[in-house]
Structure formats: structure tokens, C-alpha cells
Symmetry: C2
Subunit: 334 residues, 2 copies
């Protein structure tokens, strides 16, 4: 077998079939995928969630993960944020001619390992190869389907005045780990992406409350953008307290050095939930028993004042508007 | 609004939201999409087909279509080939910084127009922007879900000896139209991609027969690869007759000039069906009443001899093995 990907691996001919069978199917094998038909077919009944994301992260391998893990977690998390149990994923690769086979195998193994942790299966896929210089190594798209849990109605439009704002853990790890890797800022060995699947955490939360009104993972645009989306979609105000927002010391240090506001830095393994006040404590307690929610905190609440605006109280007692991100912060972090 | 796409349009911040609302949502609007949650949620019950494809075609606009039309037709066709009625699509864009807004609008309009023709809705999506030089203008991924029709079981493993091989029309139009556009071979004004949605044609065929065993659209790798996939998956032989395979004169001319075999050239609006002999004529008659099947022909049959091999009888009475495509023919045609 060749050492690198050739244009012929995307031709639909012999080498395409070899790539699919030897590299993809052998790692990801399951009864639905192995039929290799144009579509995978399965029985389903209920409320289905459907989502998609393309992943263009650079570098492909970073502390705490790689593009394969990210592509599974990102889509699993988007399904989870709809209150859905993720079931099946599609996997579509756009590969630059000359990409090393060993890197592809490592990434496909990472896809499979993460899928196993999430208990989802990759059941359909596609591979395209573009000429050298026409893509940056590898882009991945995953789409996913999941079953929405009975009795749950989670949407960014559902926030109610009085809801508590729960954050599942420290913010900014993913974006700052990526930046540090990219810029060679390796002075902090503890900097790792938080890239993680959150379907188990969401299942735990739903097991103790039917009053989780809004759920979102604050990826691109960070915590600030997610809270603004909730405030805007639900036409409510949100008040948060700066001193309650957990941030790793290393992340804070790099942010200060580079002039970034951690509120706008991307996360890939965190969630924000707006929960009815009577259920907030039990949701929080349950979250802290899950490895991905062990540092969860209540960071604020939904208010009737200043609809569509997010206000943050600083430790000094002053308040400031937390706006949506303007301009770009860190491109290609997901 | 800016004239071109900026990195900030992929940041998850204000410009991202503007792009989504003003350019994407305004063209593609429907009740599921406009919620703009991380996942779209809908009720469903039955056998669901799920598929994905990334589109990296170059050039983005070509005679007979563009990447937007291709991205809808390709995924609608993959669902149709599973015997499914396409319902919903996802749309994920990877855009190169500096891409003209007017081109994006034209492509999104084409997505919407094609989706309307197919009666499918784009209900979830994603947009990424990569730095200049890190992608070739625009790549699109669509995933799709559809409901498999009751009583239908279509798979490349289902071919039975005696089945007739029906081809829906002339082959090679898409690949040769792309090549001609790319290479400036404009001597043939009649060369147009056959890019078209085939869900209506498949519905017509299924209305008159429950004995359609295999269905596939011969895209990359062409008719030869599709027939080899059927033969291989079903462990049967396939015999076709060269003189029955329709090919436009212009396609034949370019193929002769460039040394291509039209059997391996990509199509984007054709299908091959293996149908039980007792139903073949009525399926053919019904196909010819559909605009996308008006030139349908029976080109051969499934045989017990030479399992896993496709043999073509030439007009001179000789026979030759039609193998899978080896190497690449035309990169980036879909």
C-alpha cells in the first residue's frame, strides 16, 4: 500500500475501494456500515435530532485530542444539547493529496475510540481527495442523528426568568491549548484541550430534572456568545458573576499575555444549562458526580431586566455588558 | 455588508450570525431551520435512510449546474438509491477567506431551488471559514435523511440471476462537461452536465414494481464501477451489450479525443437498476414517461457465469471484461 493518499484514492475506482475497506471499514466496522451502500438504513420511531459540523482544526493533532476525536465529540455534543441520545454518525473526509496514511489511520482510530466511548456508530461516509495545495491536509464532516428523550423540550428559546445558569467546568481550555500548540507557547505543560463527549453528562442531568430549559456547548464564540444566543432567542436578560466562572490558571495567564478575553475562547467539552431554580441544586450535584461535570458551578441567573443583554458583575462590584464576539478571535480552532 | 467572506464570518460571533441570518436563513427558510438550534428536531417513524457526501467540484459553476445543485442532487440521489423518499438535508460549508459574497448567494439560491424541486428542506447547517490558500474556494457537505418505502428492499447485495440491467439515459455527460469547462474545450456547445435529482424517477419506478433489486447512480468511477460493485456484492456475473449503451455524440467525440472510456466517466443524473425480468418492461415504460428517464434502455442482464465479473459484448460480437477503474480518471468532478 502507498505511504500517502493519491488522487486515485478519491476516484471511485479500485484504490477508493481499497481505502474504504482497509483503512476505514476495518477500523469502524459495524453491520450497517459494512453494507457499503449509498445510504445506511435503520428502524426508528420518535423525535429525531439531526445535526452537522465540518471540522477544519489546525493543527490536526493537539494536546488533549485530534481532529478525529473533535469530529465525533462535536457532533455528539450538538445532539446532546437538543436533549437527544446520539445514535448514528456519518463521516465525510476531504483529504489533500499527499496526506500520510499513518496520520489518517491514527485519526480514524481516534474516531472509533471516541465513538465507542459515546456509544455511537459511524454508519455511512464519503471520501474525497483534492489536489495538493487545494485543502489544508484534512477536513472532516460528521452529521449525526439521535433520539430526543421523552418529556424533554430543550431549546435556546425556552429560558424563563429565574432560571439558574449552570456551567459544567473551566472555560477556554480548547482554544488556548490550540493557540499554544500553534504558536509554540509550550511554557505551560498543563494546557490541554477539554475536547470530550457530553452525552453521558446530559443523560445524568436529565435523569434528575425535566426542567432543563436551555442547553448549549459554548464552542466558537465561547461562553459569551452562547449566553447572548440564549438571551436573544428567549428575549430575557442574563446576569452572571465573574468570580464564579472557573478558569484554569494557565488559561488565564495565556489570555492575559495575548490579550484574549476567556469569555470568548472556544470550549469543546463544556456545556451551559439554564435550569429552573427549584431543580438547579440537584442537577448541579448530579453533574459533579460525572467526570465531565466535576467542576460544575452556578454562575448566574436569568432576569427580567435588560432583555437580550448579558451583564457580568465583576468582583469589584461593578457591572459590564458582555456582548457577542465581534471580529475573529482564533480562526480554525474547530 | 462586505463583498467577500472574512475569517470573522466563521468566528461564531456577530458576523457569523449575520451570515447565517442574511445569506443562508433568508434563502433556505423553513420552520425547522429558523430555530437555529444546534440540532433540528422532527417526528419520524419507519425505516430511515441516512447518507452523506462532500462536494469539492472544480469549477464551482459549470454548464448544467453548480456546486449547490450538485450538493442537493447528489445526496437526494443517494437516498433515492436506497429506495427512500428524501426528507431533510443538512448543509455544511467550508469557505475560503476572500470568497465573493455574490457567488455564495448564487450557490445558496441554487441549493434552495433544487431542494424545492426535490421537495426536501435544509434543516440544519454549519459554516467554517479557512484562511486564504487553505481550501479551493468552497467545499460543501450535505447529509440527508429519508424514509424507505414500505415493501422495498434495495441493496447492491440483492441482484438475482436473470435480472435485467436498466440504464436511465446517456452516460458521461457530467464528467465530460466538467472536463471541457476546465480545459476550455468549448467546441461542443451541447455539452452539459446531467446533474439532476432522481427521487421522482425512483418513485415512479417503485409505483409499478416491487422487484427492483439494486439501484445506484453511477457517479465517480462511472457505469463500469457501479456494475462491478453490484457483481461483487451480490456474487453474480453481469453481461452488457455495448451497442445498447446510450452515449451523446459530443461525449463520445471528447472521449475519443482525450483517450477516455465513457464507461468510467462520472454521471450525476443517471441511475442503473437491476430489475426482475417479469417487471423490466413495465419499469422501463414508466421510466420513459419521466423527463429524467426518457432515454432509459435495457443494456444487459445478470448471469450465473463469471461471478463477480462484468463482461461487455461489442458490436463486432467479441467480448471484453469491464474491470473497475484503476488509477484516477478526472479528479474533482463532484
Amino acid at each position: 500500500m502507498e505511504d500517502t493518499i493519491l488522487l486515485a484514492h478519491g476516484s471511485g475506482g479500485k484504490l477508493s475501494h481499497e481505502l474504504v475497506k482497509k483503512t476505514l471499514l476495518s477500523a469502524l466496522r459495524n453491520p450497517l456500515l459494512e453494507k457499503l451502500d449509498d445510504s445506511a438504513v435503520f428502524e426508528i420511531s420518535g423525535r429525531l435530532a439531526f445535526t452537522t459540523d465540518s471540522y477544519v482544526v489546525s493543527p490536526l493533532f493537539f494536546p488533549g485530542g485530534d481532529i478525529g476525536k473533535l469530529a465525533v465529540c462535536g457532533t455528539v455534543n450538538d445532539l446532546s444539547m437538543a436533549g437527544a441520545m446520539p445514535l448514528y454518525l456519518s463521516l465525510s473526509l476531504i483529504i489533500e493529496e499527499g496526506f500520510p496514511f499513518t496520520d489518517l489511520q491514527r485519526i480514524v482510530a481516534s474516531v472509533q475510540q471516541t465513538a465507542e466511548e459515546c456509544r455511537v456508530a459511524v454508519i455511512t461516509g464519503d471520501t474525497k481527495v483534492v489536489n495538493r495545495g487545494m485543502a489544508d491536509k484534512l477536513f472532516i464532516n460528521t452529521a449525526g442523528v439521535g433520539l430526543v428523550q421523552q418529556g424533554m423540550s430543550v431549546s435556546s428559546t425556552n429560558a424563563v426568568v429565574g432560571d439558574k445558569v449552570i456551567l459544567s467546568g473551566p472555560i477556554g481550555d480548547h482554544g488556548i491549548a490550540l493557540l499554544s500548540e500553534r504558536e509554540g507557547l509550550r511554557f505551560e505543560s498543563s494546557l490541554e484541550s477539554d475536547c470530550a463527549p457530553l452525552n453521558g453528562l446530559v443523560a445524568d442531568m436529565m435523569a434528575v430534572s425535566h426542567k432543563i430549559h436551555c442547553l448549549r456547548d459554548p464552542t466558537r464564540g465561547g461562553l459569551a456568545s452562547t449566553l447572548n444566543e440564549f438571551a436573544d432567542s428567549s428575549n430575557v436578560g442574563i446576569r452572571i458573576e465573574e468570580e464564579h466562572i472557573p478558569i484554569h490558571e494557565a488559561v488565564r495567564a495565556v489570555c492575559e499575555l495575548m490579550g484574549f478575553d476567556p469569555l470568548y475562547v472556544a470550549n469543546e467539552g463544556k456545556l451551559v444549562a439554564l435550569v429552573a431554580p427549584e431543580d438547579a441544586e440537584q442537577v448541579l450535584t448530579r453533574m459533579r458526580q460525572n467526570r465531565y461535570g466535576s467542576a460544575a458551578k452556578i454562575i448566574g441567573e436569568v432576569v427580567a431586566d435588560h432583555p437580550k443583554k448579558v451583564i457580568m458583575k465583576t468582583p469589584l462590584g461593578t457591572s459590564r455588558i458582555v456582548d457577542m464576539l465581534t471580529g475573529e478571535l482564533l480562526p480554525r480552532i474547530c
